[in-house]
């Protein structure tokens, strides 16, 4: 009996600590899943901001995970595409920049973070391309090249660069012909890419395919 009680205490102890650990994890996963759901269902700018806020809250709470801040930045980037006022677009991109910097502070060697950094810089240029193109392109490309170097299997830096070529006027070295080869390269990378975890970044494949189709 005594032995039994000891065993029970041990089991309960394991069970209890397991539950608290699990509860933390479950809370984090639950909150992330609800954030991802908000993101996937978002239609208006307010929806994207709400999703971004959700991710930012999670990031602030867990402190050691880069994914929440990464998604908080990504939702702000997508939010930018729903806006028309240039000041608001700039504000959204500045916020995205602030959030991705927080992600980078947690994990300074993550390929996905560098890809997002470059993407944000491109989007910032698109707000006022005439004025920002010349001075901003170099830094954006540098981030994306870093993203490639950190993880050559990550398809997103390839896709982001291809997309930039697609939207750059032919006169400035862009256009569909130039973009086609890049989308094709990105498509191969997307085909080979596997995520280790369902919450890890896994976006871009559909858009890459549809833009590639437009190049044909």
């Amino acid at each position: 009996m005594k032995k039994n009680i000891k065993n029970i205490i041990a089991i309960v102890f394991i069970l209890l600590t397991g539950t608290t650990l699990k509860a933390q994890d479950a809370k984090y996963i639950g909150a992330m899943q609800s954030g991802l759901k908000m993101f996937s269902e978002a239609k208006t700018s307010a929806d994207y901001v709400a999703a971004s806020n959700q991710f930012e809250r999670i990031g602030t709470q867990v402190k050691t995970e880069w994914l929440p801040f990464y998604y908080a930045a990504y939702t702000q980037l997508i939010n930018n595409t729903t806006l028309t006022n240039t000041d608001e677009k700039d504000a959204a991109m500045d916020k995205a920049q602030e959030l991705i910097d927080k992600a980078a502070a947690i994990n300074p060697k993550e390929s996905e973070i560098f890809a997002m950094k470059g993407y944000i810089k491109f989007m910032k240029i698109y707000v006022n391309p005439m004025a920002r193109m010349q001075s901003g392109m170099g830094a954006a490309i540098t981030d994306l090249e870093t993203a490639k170097a950190l993880n050559p299997a990550n398809p997103r830096p390839y896709f982001i660069l291809a997309q930039n070529t697609f939207y750059t006027p032919e006169a400035f070295g862009g256009g569909k012909t130039a973009a086609k080869a890049k989308f094709t390269e990105a498509a191969a990378k997307f085909d080979a890419f596997k995520t280790s975890n369902p919450m890890m970044p896994n976006w871009g494949v559909e858009r890459n395919a549809s833009l590639l189709a437009e190049c044909k």
Binding site: L15, A31, V49, Q61, A91, N128
Partner: protein
């Protein structure tokens, strides 16, 4: 055993399902407007939500006890309140303060037009200055399409709000440029020496400018040079008027550029029929060296040196003798500047600079030899302290040593002046919507042995989203022109008092500005009966500006209109009249469009101005005659392509395409018997150029 297990399982279940508290409420700004997309969270938990389109929120929290609610939004600060969670629903009415930041704060706009790529809420970009049709990348010609200025085709420089060209000064990284124009020729406008592509920011102030700048009665043109270039590049320019080569080498934390150019107008002038009787068409050769160094994290050192030499000679008609009169000019210009800026700690910034220039003109005028040398040395230092998010206080000092030497057939005269100045200025943000700038500048001239004190005040108030009103008042002093100073030191500073009120509205690619001003001149130099400071005058008017990038897809245009009423008694005038640079109405329409399919950037500028007064010795009243109105339509096309795989721009511009016959004024013989009109050298000017950039990718990061 069983009971223990059941008990434990129960415990676990209870542990997972605690009591939840409903929290509802709203977030508003200081003006009680709902804040959309604000984030609300319970500190140290996952619980929280965002406000909806009405600024309302609602969420449940399973936390309990005393907690802190954090709330924030883009464009606002972060704030917090304490709450107690006990299961009883809570209703929170939260108020967020707008963050004081450059994005939404009011800016002082009275008097000034700023072209910048990095700052928000500016009217122009650097590219606008470089691509205005008719200007052919001359900063000064481009600025003549802005309100407050007027077309000046027969003179160098900017005529701003009834001021003479000498009343506008140019500042390069904060330092005064004594000779910003190429060789000065009789009755022909010269281009500026500096390429607009060198600058990241250009501020054109038609009045009421900062106490940091002195020695300009009417207007200040403030040029801020670019920081480190991104890449190592080679730029080749081939033009109908000459050729240039620039090499930029980028190192890790620094960059070195050097370049040279040779300009010869003879081939172009042989095709374009010239009214001017050229003897030796203008030629010039020059070189530049630029060095930029990033010092530690925040410091930036910049240096720029330019040397050029130009020659020209021509024949003018001497109306008194009815014979040709020879004029030649040989100009040598050396300009160098060095500036350093850095942040010290979080809230201090220093700017210091040094510049030196030597400009000499020698030549013949009729049968006489003339010579003129200007030397300027300047040292300047400004310290800025940041207070809070936006407010600043700055103070500084500058020292200008200027020298002029003039000779005429072996006779010579000269003067030396040491001008010592001190200034202090504070930008005080009373809120995001209200800013006051209060400044004082004091100067002492050793040559004149005089002091001046110039208080300046500006106010700006944000009246709504994108709209604001500004007011400015200021005293401005300037030394008499060199031509007078070499004759006597018995003169005083000239003075102008500016008052202006401005309204500006910017929204979605459209900008509207209206500004009314009154300017009073005192102590202007008169050259008769002897040199004295008894001149005076006034200028008042209204400037309008409308820019629209939105209405027509891909089209960007602006319209500027200036109304000017001015009179002055100065120089050799017998009474106060409207001077020759006082056209009553000036209108400019500037149009730009990018044709993506054609890879071409097309621009057009149409300018019209009412006639200018001129002196007719036969008229009963002084300066009562006026020329006919001035008109000009210029177009340019930039075609983007590649040559041998290198990024290339092919540029063509035609000024005065319809061939309007403009007359800027008349020269009379002393007896009034003969007159000759002042005209541009050619009816139309055509310019073709090819600019190739070879980017070397050896350096990355």
């Amino acid at each position: 055993m069983k009971t223990i297990l059941i008990f434990l399982i129960l415990l676990l279940i209870i542990g997972e399902s605690q009591a939840q508290t409903l929290i509802i409420g709203s977030v508003k700004d200081a003006k009680a407007k709902p804040v959309i997309g604000a984030s609300i969270s319970i500190k140290d938990s996952y619980d929280g939500t965002s406000t909806d389109s009405l600024g309302k929120f609602s969420f449940k929290s399973s936390e309990s006890g005393e907690k802190i609610v954090l709330f924030s939004a883009v464009g606002f600060g972060m704030d917090s309140v304490k709450i107690v969670l006990s299961g009883t629903p809570l209703n929170l009415n939260l108020v967020l303060k707008e963050k004081l930041n450059a994005l939404n704060a009011v800016t002082i706009t009275a008097g000034s037009f700023e072209a910048s790529d990095s700052k928000k809420g500016v009217v122009l970009s650097s590219l606008d200055v470089a691509t205005t049709a008719g200007a052919v990348a001359d900063v000064y010609a481009a600025l003549q399409t802005l309100p407050g200025t007027q077309p000046a085709a027969a003179e160098s420089g900017l005529f701003v709000r009834g001021g003479a060209a000498t009343e506008t000064n140019t500042y390069f990284d904060g330092l005064l440029v004594k000779n910003p124009f190429n060789t000065q020729l009789p009755d022909i406008a010269s281009r500026g020496r500096f390429s607009p592509f060198m600058f990241k920011g250009t501020t054109f102030s038609a009045g009421g400018y900062s106490a940091v700048y002195g020695q300009a009665l009417s207007s200040a043109l403030i040029l801020e040079s670019k920081d480190l270039p991104e890449k190592t590049t080679t730029d080749i320019s081939l033009m109908t008027v000459g050729a240039g080569l620039d090499q930029t080498i980028r190192f890790k934390n620094s960059a070195l550029s050097f370049g040279g150019s040779y300009i010869n107008l003879k081939p172009a002038f042989s095709v374009l029929k010239q009214a001017t009787d050229w003897n030796h068409e203008p030629t010039s050769a020059g070189g530049t060296v630029t060095y930029k160094l990033k010092v530690a994290k925040t410091g930036m050192l910049k240096s720029y040196t330019e040397y050029s030499k130009s020659d020209v000679s021509l024949n003018t008609n001497d109306l008194n003798t009815q014979a040709k009169s020879f004029f030649s000019n040989d100009n040598k210009n050396l300009y160098t500047n060095l500036s350093y800026q850095d942040y010290i700690g979080n809230d201090w910034k220093i700017n210091c600079g040094f510049s030196a220039s030597n400009n000499s003109d020698d030549g013949e005028q009729a049968i006489n030899n003339y010579g003129r040398t200007d030397r300027l040395i300047q040292a300047k230092a400004t310290v800025t302290k940041y207070i809070g998010q936006l407010s600043t206080i700055k103070f500084g000092s500058d020292f200008l040593s200027s020298h002029r030497d003039e000779s005429w057939n072996g006779l010579s005269r000269s003067y030396n002046d040491k001008l010592t100045s001190a200034y202090a200025e504070s930008d005080i943000f009373l809120s995001n919507d209200l800013v006051a700038r209060i400044g004082l500048r004091a100067e002492h001239s050793s040559y004149l042995n005089q002091n001046n004190f110039a208080p300046r005040v500006s106010l700006a108030y944000k009246t709504g989203k994108g709209s604001q009103v500004s007011f400015a008042y200021g005293e401005f002093f300037q030394n008499p022109d060199d031509q007078y100073l070499v004759q006597t030191s018995n003169l005083d500073f000239q003075n102008a008092t500016h008052y202006m009120a401005n309204f500006q509205k910017m929204k979605d690619g459209q900008t509207f500005r209206i500004e009314a001003y009154y300017k009073k001149y005192n102590d202007l130099v008169k050259s008769a009966p002897n040199l004295n400071n008894n001149g005076y005058g006034y200028a008042k008017g209204i400037d309008l500006f409308w820019r629209d990038k939105k209405t027509f897809n891909g089209v960007d245009y602006w319209i500027s209109y200036s109304y000017l009423d001015t009179k002055r008694d100065f120089s050799n005038y017998p009474s106060a009249v409207t001077p020759e640079f006082g056209a009553k109405h000036s209108l400019n329409i500037v149009y730009k469009q990018f044709f993506s399919k054609l890879k071409s950037y097309v621009g057009a500028t149409y300018s019209v101005a009412s006639g200018r007064p001129f002196y007719n010795p036969n008229a009963t009243e002084f300066m009562s005659d006026k020329t006919k109105p001035y008109q000009n339509l210029s177009i340019n096309v930039s075609y983007l392509t590649s040559v041998f795989g290198k990024y290339t721009v092919i540029y063509a511009s035609v000024s005065n395409l319809p061939g309007f016959k403009n007359v800027y004024g008349y020269h009379y013989s002393n007896d009034g018997q003969f007159r000759e009109s002042v005209q541009p050298p050619a009816l139309r000017n055509i310019f073709l150029g090819m600019f190739i950039t070879i980017g070397d990718n050896t350096y990355k990061n």
